[in-house]
C-alpha cells in the first residue's frame, strides 16, 4: 500500500513540476511531510514564482493559487486518467500574461484530452478548437457555435 502510494506520488509530482514550468517561469513541487511513513503526514505544495522565494501554496496570491491549482489538477492525470476537464472561470484572477499562457497550454493539452472551459476573456477563448457562445433571447438561454472573428462583434 505504501509502495503503491509512493510510486503514484512520484509520478504525480513529476507531472506537476513539468506542467507548472510550462505555465509559469518558476518551479513547483510536492513534498511529503513524513517520507518514511507517508500516511502519517500531509503533502505540501510548494511553488516558486520568478525570482521570489518558494512558498507554501496557501500563502500565494490569488492568481498564483489559481495557476498552481490547475497544474496540480492536471498532474493527477499521471496516476488517474480523467476523460475530460470542466473549468468554470478558472482565469478570473489571472492577469493578461498568465491568461495568455494558460490559453496556449490548454490548446496543447487539448490535443490529448477534452477540455470544456468557461471564460469571459477573448485572449483565452480565441485559443480554443471550438467556441460556444451562450446568450439570452427573450428571457431564455441559447447556445450557438462561434468563429473567432465573431468574438469581437458578439460583445
Amino acid at each position: 500500500k505504501s509502495q503503491t502510494f509512493m510510486k503514484a506520488f512520484e509520478m504525480i509530482d513529476r507531472s506537476f513540476r513539468e506542467i507548472f514550468s510550462k505555465l509559469v517561469d518558476g518551479a513547483a513541487w510536492l513534498e511529503l511531510e513524513n517520507p518514511n511513513d507517508p500516511f502519517n503526514g500531509g503533502v505540501f505544495m510548494l511553488a516558486k514564482f520568478g525570482d521570489k522565494k518558494e512558498r507554501e501554496a496557501a500563502s500565494l496570491s490569488g492568481g498564483e493559487k489559481a495557476i498552481a491549482s490547475v497544474a496540480f489538477l492536471l498532474a493527477l492525470q499521471a496516476a488517474y486518467k480523467s476523460h475530460f476537464y470542466i473549468f468554470d472561470e478558472i482565469d478570473a484572477n489571472l492577469d493578461a500574461e498568465r491568461s495568455r499562457r494558460l490559453g496556449e497550454f490548454l490548446n496543447s493539452w487539448g490535443k490529448e484530452n477534452q477540455i470544456i472551459l468557461v471564460s469571459l476573456k477573448d485572449t483565452l477563448i480565441s485559443k480554443a478548437d471550438r467556441i460556444i457562445g451562450v446568450y439570452e433571447r427573450e428571457g431564455s438561454s441559447r447556445a450557438i457555435e462561434l468563429r473567432v472573428e465573431e468574438l469581437e462583434r458578439g460583445k
Partner: protein, 160 residues
Amino acid sequence: VYISRIEIRNFKSFEGAVNVELVKGFNAVTGRNGSGKSNIIDAIRFAFGENSVKALRENRMQALINDRGRGRSARVSVYLANEGDAPFKEQQLVITRELLSNGEQRYYINGRRTSRNNVVDLLYSMGISSDGLNIVPQGAIGRIAEMNPSDRRELLEDLI
C-alpha cells in the same frame, strides 16, 4: 471517451430545447453575465446523477425546472463518444436524467429506463462522477491550493 453533445430541455435558464455540440479538444464557452454558461455545467452534473441541489446552486429540486416550463419536465442528455477506451462496445453512450413536474425523477441509458444507481455505477467504472476533481465550479479554483497538507494526502490516497 469524451462529451460530444449535451441536450438540454427546460433545465434552469434553458427554456425549450437547446443542444450544445462539443469537440474532443479544447472547447471554450463564453457569453454575458447571466447568459447560462454555468447552467450548462450544472446540466452535465445533473445528468451524471448529482443529488445535492445546493451543488446545482438551487434550494429545491423543483427550482431546476425552467421558470416558464413549470408544468413540464426538465431533461438533460449527455452524449459520451467512445474512442475505444470505454467499457462499452457502442459508438456512444447517452445518459439521460429527467425531473418531472410532480418531483419524480427518471434515468435512462441509451434511451432505456434504468435506476440512478446503474447510471452512477456505469459512470464510476469510467472514472466519471458528478463531483469529480475534473469538474471545477465557478469560484472554486483557489481552494485546491488552500487545502491543508493532510487533506491533500487523503485526496491522493483516495485516487491511487
